[in-house]
């Protein structure tokens, strides 16, 4: 049973009324009239109904398909225990401080990505960095939705008992699904409809109500599969592959680059999700433990749990551990009929896998919904319909053609997401200043004290590492269409966003003055 939250209670609401500065960050930047209007807006803004809901939202957002099909294999290939040590060290040094900063920035601003940038940047054009984050999230969701559609299709078939039916041919089943435009676009459509339905209900009645059941459900499913996997003959080989230590790999630069990529991509640092989730965080909630330590270590724990769950099965049945998506959709369905109670294991695995992917999809889309409902005259419900329809349309090419999905995944995964991270962490580190965020927001009501050495990590280390990763990808793919596309995104999107917001913000000021009069 989740504990009650503070802000929704009458008592805390009265306290917020008594101390309005705690709820409305932007008030002092505006005229008195505008301040009062802002205050009303802030006090009516949704908040997580429980601490548990916030924690599960963060975890559900960050745990995705990659935790299950990528992390265990990357670990085994990159030195096992040595890789885990490097990965763990980088989690502590980069991911935890970075996510603390992003959640803190979200609560400080109390707004979506564009409003958050507006509250700290010096020039109107730089508000466009918020547009960059928005564009990246929409693009990411447009090709992630079809992938979630795969997991939905398999979850439904696991419920129907397809994988344990006699004569089931996994490869033919997978190929038939991927080659069918109706099925691919249809599952993408179903996913976006489900996302819209959840988001339509709002933060507490929709998102929170889903994640408090889906995330524990995913963990329980993986625990059950782990118990079954570890009791299979030959399971030890899978454990030896994933957790065996090759200390020599620790001395290789490639191991650290792989670990960095895994740390920064699997934790969703700087994508705008943590900022958005943080913007709904009540003032009396802690940031460093929930937004930082729990999210990062919990997210990685799901990856480790997936390694314990899946790789013993992979090796027990002599499957290829390197096959990624096809491991999940072709190889594992081969195995379930051979296991006692295969129907149950298939059901647990694919429903859990769907939960992992779907909760991420919900929170990725929420970034756009929160921001656009604040930046336009549309209601939240209208924004949900508009955003989900837009993403559905943009996602059709990816659902229809795997090559489009692969191209977008490379371009936005390797260049767009780091760009969003640089925008958010850059705004905190160089425009707002990490010390200000630390003393005003991060250490307020915190469960642990965040010391001053957090500041240079946010200001220097994370941006430098992010730039290094982008240049490494560009160098490794020099001259390829994907690299050119990535560079176009990396340079073009910020420039266009800067120009757009210079124009729009220039128009916004006289309008705001007129409204104030």
């Amino acid at each position: 049973m989740p504990p009650p939250s503070f802000c929704p209670t009458k008592q805390s609401f009265e306290i917020s009324m008594r101390r309005p500065y705690l709820c409305g960050r932007s008030q002092s930047l505006h005229s008195d009239e505008a301040s009062m209007a802002d205050q009303n807006v802030e006090l009516s803004r949704a908040q997580w109904g429980s601490r548990f809901g916030f924690l599960m939202a963060m975890l559900g957002a960050m745990v995705g398909a990659g935790n299950i099909w990528r992390f265990p294999f990357v670990t085994g290939e990159s030195g096992g225990g040595a890789f885990i040590l490097a990965y763990f060290a980088l989690l502590l040094v980069l991911a935890i401080p970075g996510l603390i900063a992003e959640v803190g920035f979200g609560r400080y601003a109390g707004q979506g990505v564009i409003g958050a940038f507006r509250s700290v940047v010096a020039s109107q054009g730089l508000v466009g960095l918020g547009v960059v984050v928005l564009v990246v999230n929409v693009a990411l969701m447009s090709y992630y939705s079809p992938v979630v559609g795969w997991t939905l299709y398999y979850a439904v078939h696991s419920l129907l008992g397809t994988f344990t039916a006699s004569g089931f041919a996994p490869e033919a089943f997978w190929n038939a699904f991927r080659e069918s435009a109706v099925l691919s676009v249809g599952t993408h459509t179903a996913v976006m409809a489900l996302v819209a339905a959840i988001l339509y209900l709002g933060i507490r009645r929709g998102v929170e109500r889903l994640v408090i059941y889906a995330v524990p459900g995913l963990v329980l499913a993986l625990v059950a599969i782990t118990i079954r996997g570890l009791t299979l003959p030959g399971a030890a080989e899978g454990l030896a592959f994933t957790f065996g230590v090759d200390w020599g790999k620790l001395a290789l630069g490639q191991t650290w680059i792989t670990a960095l990529g895994q740390v920064l991509f699997s934790t969703g640092l700087g994508w705008g999700i943590a900022l958005t989730v943080g913007s709904y965080l009540p003032e009396y909630d802690d940031i460093p433990i929930g937004g930082g330590v729990f999210t990062v270590i919990g997210n990685s724990s799901v990856g480790i749990l997936a390694a314990f769950a899946i790789f013993p099965i992979v090796f027990a049945f002599d499957l290829d551990p390197a096959s990624g998506a096809s491991l999940t959709f072709v190889s594992l369905p081969q195995v379930f009929p051979q296991m006692a109670g295969g129907l149950l294991w298939a059901l647990l695995f694919f429903v859990g896998f769907f939960f992992a992917a779907f909760t991420s999809a919900i929170l990725i889309t929420e970034v756009s919904v929160t921001t656009l409902s604040e930046e336009t005259a549309l209601s939240r419900e209208q924004t949900v319909i508009g955003v989900c329809t837009g993403i559905w349309l943009l996602g059709i090419p990816s659902a229809y053609a795997p090559s489009v999905l692969g191209f977008l995944d490379f371009v936005f995964g390797n260049f767009g997401l780091p760009l969003a991270t640089l925008a958010i962490i850059g705004a905190i580190g160089w425009s707002m200043g990490p010390e200000k965020l630390r003393v005003l927001e991060v250490n307020r009501n915190a469960g642990i004290y965040v010391p001053p050495f957090w500041n240079p990590v946010v200001r220097y280390v994370i941006p430098v590492v992010m730039l290094g990763i982008v240049f490494n990808y560009a160098w490794a793919n020099l001259g390829t269409p994907q690299m050119i596309g990535g560079v176009v995104v990396f340079v073009g999107v910020p420039l266009l966003s800067y120009a757009l917001m210079s124009y729009l913000e220039g128009r916004r000021e006289p309008l705001a003055r007129d409204e104030a009069r």
Binding site: Q11, S28, V293, F294, I297, R444, N445, G447
Partner: protein
């Protein structure tokens, strides 16, 4: 045991402790902290919002701001004073404040 080498066992043990152990502990700890805050709210009617170190940092940050102060400084000062007032007017606190520390606090 199970044909696994010692390094595999050590890595698995490390993962269980550093990942599963820390996640569960942190989850329980943060939920317990929230329960504590709620209980304090009910009995004291208010909560201290900063730990001693965090409040010192906040004061230091306010004091080094240029004159005239930027808008956030007024809010920061209000946060500081509110915390000081809460500490002086409540008997039980969320953070570990000694009576001597509270005695030395002055509003800004």
């Amino acid at each position: 045991m199970l044909g696994l080498s010692l390094d595999v066992w050590i890595t698995m043990l490390f993962c269980v402790v550093a990942f599963f152990g820390v996640s569960i502990w942190v989850l329980v700890y943060t939920l317990w902290q929230e329960d504590t805050k709620l209980a304090l709210f009910k009995t004291e009617g208010d909560l201290d919002t900063y730990s001693p170190r965090a409040l010192r940092d906040l004061r230091r940050w306010i004091e080094i701001q240029p004159d005239p102060p930027p808008p956030d400084v007024n809010e920061a000062r209000a946060l500081y004073n509110d915390c000081v007032e809460t500490l002086k007017t409540t008997d039980r606190h969320f953070y570990e404040w000694s009576a001597a520390e509270i005695e030395r606090l002055d509003p800004l």
